[in-house]
């Protein structure tokens, strides 16, 4: 994928030979494209900017008509309110912990099961694999009721375990890792086998060290999925101290019945979005390539 966004190198000399008027047209067209992209980009960034602007307003300023695009008297009051009336830091740590633990679990479990389906031979392997794939087609809504009962029976409601464990055993992760392992040339492992290494040693010493990119992509997808997951934590978590960010955020709007605290709600939204933004900026490449390759939105 590297360099995929830069122009194909073969075209460059071709272009240099063009007459000047052609280049001019290209520039005019470039300007148009850039303008269109910018207009669209403002449409994408604008709502976030509006959220930030609202979060910096005092209660009264929020309900001024016409709305002030940039607050005349910016204040951090809304942020103080969010942090003081809501265990925001705790909720943030919950989200980080749950997402990281799920990623770790998924990487361990799925890389091993993926390897089993790619390289180990046993009776019924392909049937079993088809079964794994088949579960991918079943929407979450189908399993949610029994899953809820399973997790309640295990006593896992209002616990980290209940948030993490059901997310670890991903059929998609198994499928994704299997496809990657299949793309590794068999010769690598055969060489190790000749040296007398067992399956486990081969997996740990030969296969895992070259699986970095695949693990990173799966990890990033799993992280995003868990970080933004809403319905499941909404159902099993009622204790405020164990809520994850999306659930905590959704309760902000109902925290004050009959009252509008849009500046506070927006402050919460901004606080919850900043970590996503930072992770995204650092892991942009993996995230975008992972999504493009798998069609998984997380």
């Amino acid at each position: 994928m590297k360099g995929a966004l830069s122009p194909a190198s073969g075209a460059a000399p071709h272009r240099a030979a063009r007459p000047a008027w052609r280049r001019l047209r290209l520039n005019w067209r470039t300007m148009l494209v850039v303008t269109l992209i910018l207009i669209g980009g403002i449409g994408m960034i604008g709502p976030f900017a509006w959220a930030v602007s609202t979060s910096l307003k005092a209660r009264g300023a929020m309900l001024v008509l016409p709305p002030e695009l940039i607050p005349a008297e910016p204040t951090l009051e809304a942020y103080r309110q969010v942090v003081s009336r809501f265990p925001f830091f705790r909720v943030f740590v919950n989200s980080v912990f749950v997402a990281l633990a799920t990623v770790l679990g998924q990487l361990v479990v799925c890389s091993m099961s993926g390897y089993a389906f790619a390289r180990l031979t046993f009776r019924g392997r392909d049937t079993l694999f088809v079964l794994y794939i088949a579960t991918l087609m079943v929407p979450f809504a189908v399993i949610i009721t029994p899953l809820f009962i399973v997790v309640t029976t295990l006593g896992w409601t209002n616990s980290y375990v209940g948030l993490i464990v059901p997310g670890i055993f991903s059929a998609f992760g198994t499928f994704f890792m299997r496809q990657f392992f299949l793309s590794i040339p068999r010769e690598l492992e055969e060489a190790a086998t000749i040296d007398g290494a067992g399956t486990l040693t081969t997996f740990l010493r030969i296969i895992l060290p070259i699986s970095g990119p695949a693990l990173a992509t799966l990890g990033v997808l799993a992280f995003m999925g868990t970080w933004n997951s809403f319905l499941w934590p909404l159902l099993i978590i009622s204790n405020r101290m164990l809520m994850t960010l999306p659930v905590a955020l959704s309760t902000l709007q109902g925290l004050y019945p009959g009252q509008t605290q849009w500046n506070i709600v927006m402050a919460g939204t901004v606080l919850a979005t900043i970590p996503t933004l930072i992770v995204f900026l650092f892991a942009q490449r993996w995230i975008i390539e992972g999504v493009a390759g798998s069609g998984v939105k997380g």
Binding site: R85, L107, T152, S159, V165, G212, T251, G258, T260
Partner: protein
């Protein structure tokens, strides 16, 4: 990942689980009897108050410790039902009147009559009679009322003065409300006469005010002439008289906010809002018993503490229920923290006097006077669905998608189908 030693990945979650399990074991080992309590109290101030109650209870009952858990009202009953399904319900839990029926009729609650007869702290005369009766079924007492609250007409005295309208009093009827609201309304400047939610709760009460009422047994009675009159009263304030803001006019700004901003002459709301108004309203306001139509009728909300019949610590559980319902410290704390009111008999005037002594709103007596007209909502096995169906039809009428007549006809038909299930 692959740089790490092999063992670190799989064991760390396991270790964490082990640590949690150990912590739990230690917690259980240090107390002789633990009573698990589930409540739908979630506000942070109320939770502080709850913890204060637990502290006093535990110091008076050193052999018992209370372990509480909360869920907000939206998910509370699901959690409770799954706890029952999974076989580990809390020992003591909170129930409102509507859902009490479901739990009592399915035999999940412990009868409390013997405990009550043996008690030195509470008897039949301790509580407000309607509240105590609400939590008995077929002559068996399954719960003690721990709180009650009522709904009143709250009004902005300054807007009344500006419009030259006399303040509401006990003699007021619907017509007076609409006349006053009409005088106050100034829609272009976003000021309206009244806000009264058009939903299940308001509707069953208004229906009773009209001389009708909602009933589901022995026959479903929703689409009746009186109830149509009641729903007309609710939605005509928006659609005919224009004295109440529509959804679009409210624009997501809550009615409570409109009132505090001085944009509402009157609001029909509960006594639980008093403190919010005291802190945030910078105008004079007071309360009155709600005006009626043909009759007077008011809300009566009450919550009880009940004991699961599977509990192994019935005696300790009862002591906690008793404490929550009528212990002087509880009564005092609830008044002090404005955390609803203990459902004590009005003969216990002494205990409630501190509540009446508070200066604002001046007419606090109306809170207790309202009890004289209290009506309770219809209750079915599947209460949330009943409320959703009626709310959907009321919303359609409120938004003008259906006529009042059509909405009630549809509600009648759908509730009949629900009851037949």
């Amino acid at each position: 990942m692959h740089h790490r030693p092999r063992s670190s990945g799989p064991t760390s979650p396991a270790l964490r689980t082990l640590a949690v399990a150990l912590a739990l074991l230690v917690g259980i080992a240090t107390a002789q009897t633990t009573v698990n309590y589930l409540s739908f109290t979630t506000g942070s101030e109320q939770l502080d108050a709850l913890e204060a109650l637990i502290e006093v209870f535990e110091s008076e009952n050193p052999d018992v410790s209370i372990s509480y858990n909360t869920a907000d009202f939206g998910s509370y009953f699901t959690k409770l039902q799954t706890d029952f399904a999974a076989g580990n319900p809390p020992d003591v839990f909170e129930l409102n009147y509507e859902n009490f029926v479901t739990f009592a009729s399915r035999g999940t609650l412990l009868p409390l009559d013997d405990h009550m007869a043996a008690s030195s702290a509470v008897d039949d005369t301790t509580f407000y009679p309607a509240a105590l009766e609400a939590f008995a079924r077929d002559g068996v007492q399954y719960g003690l009322p721990i709180t009650f609250s009522t709904v009143l007409l709250v009004y902005n005295q300054e807007l009344f003065d500006d419009a030259g309208v006399a303040y509401p009093d006990d003699t007021w009827t619907w017509d007076d409300v609409i006349a006053a609201a009409d005088a106050i309304t100034d829609a272009p400047n976003r000021v309206w006469g009244i806000a009264q939610p058009v939903q299940f709760w308001e509707f069953y009460k208004t229906a009773a005010q009209a001389g009708g009422g909602l009933a589901v047994a022995p026959t479903v009675q929703i689409d009746t002439p009186e109830n149509r009159e009641a729903l007309h009263y609710l939605v005509d304030k928006i659609q005919v008289h224009g004295v109440m803001p529509s959804d679009a006019e409210m624009s997501g700004v809550g009615d409570i906010d409109l009132f505090v901003n001085g944009q509402l002459g009157m609001i029909v709301t509960g006594i639980w809002m008093f403190d919010h108004f005291i802190t945030n309203a910078d105008f004079a306001w007071d309360v009155a018993v709600e005006p009626g139509g043909a009759n007077k009728a008011t809300h009566f909300f009450s919550n009880a503490a009940v004991v699961a019949n599977t509990t192994s610590v019935a005696d300790a559980a009862w002591r906690w229920v008793e404490f929550l319902a009528a212990h002087p410290f509880t009564v005092e704390t609830r008044i002090e923290r404005s955390w609803e009111l203990s459902a004590l008999s009005l003969d216990n005037a002494d205990a409630l006097q501190p509540y009446l002594d508070r200066p604002v709103p001046a007419n606090r007596q109306a809170v207790f006077e309202s009890l004289r007209y209290a009506v309770t909502p219809p209750v079915v096995d599947n209460q949330p669905q009943l409320e959703d169906i009626i709310n959907q039809e009321l919303e359609a009428a409120r938004l003008g998608l259906k006529s009042v007549e059509q909405a009630l006809m549809d509600a009648q038909r759908r509730v009949e189908a629900l009851v037949a299930q």
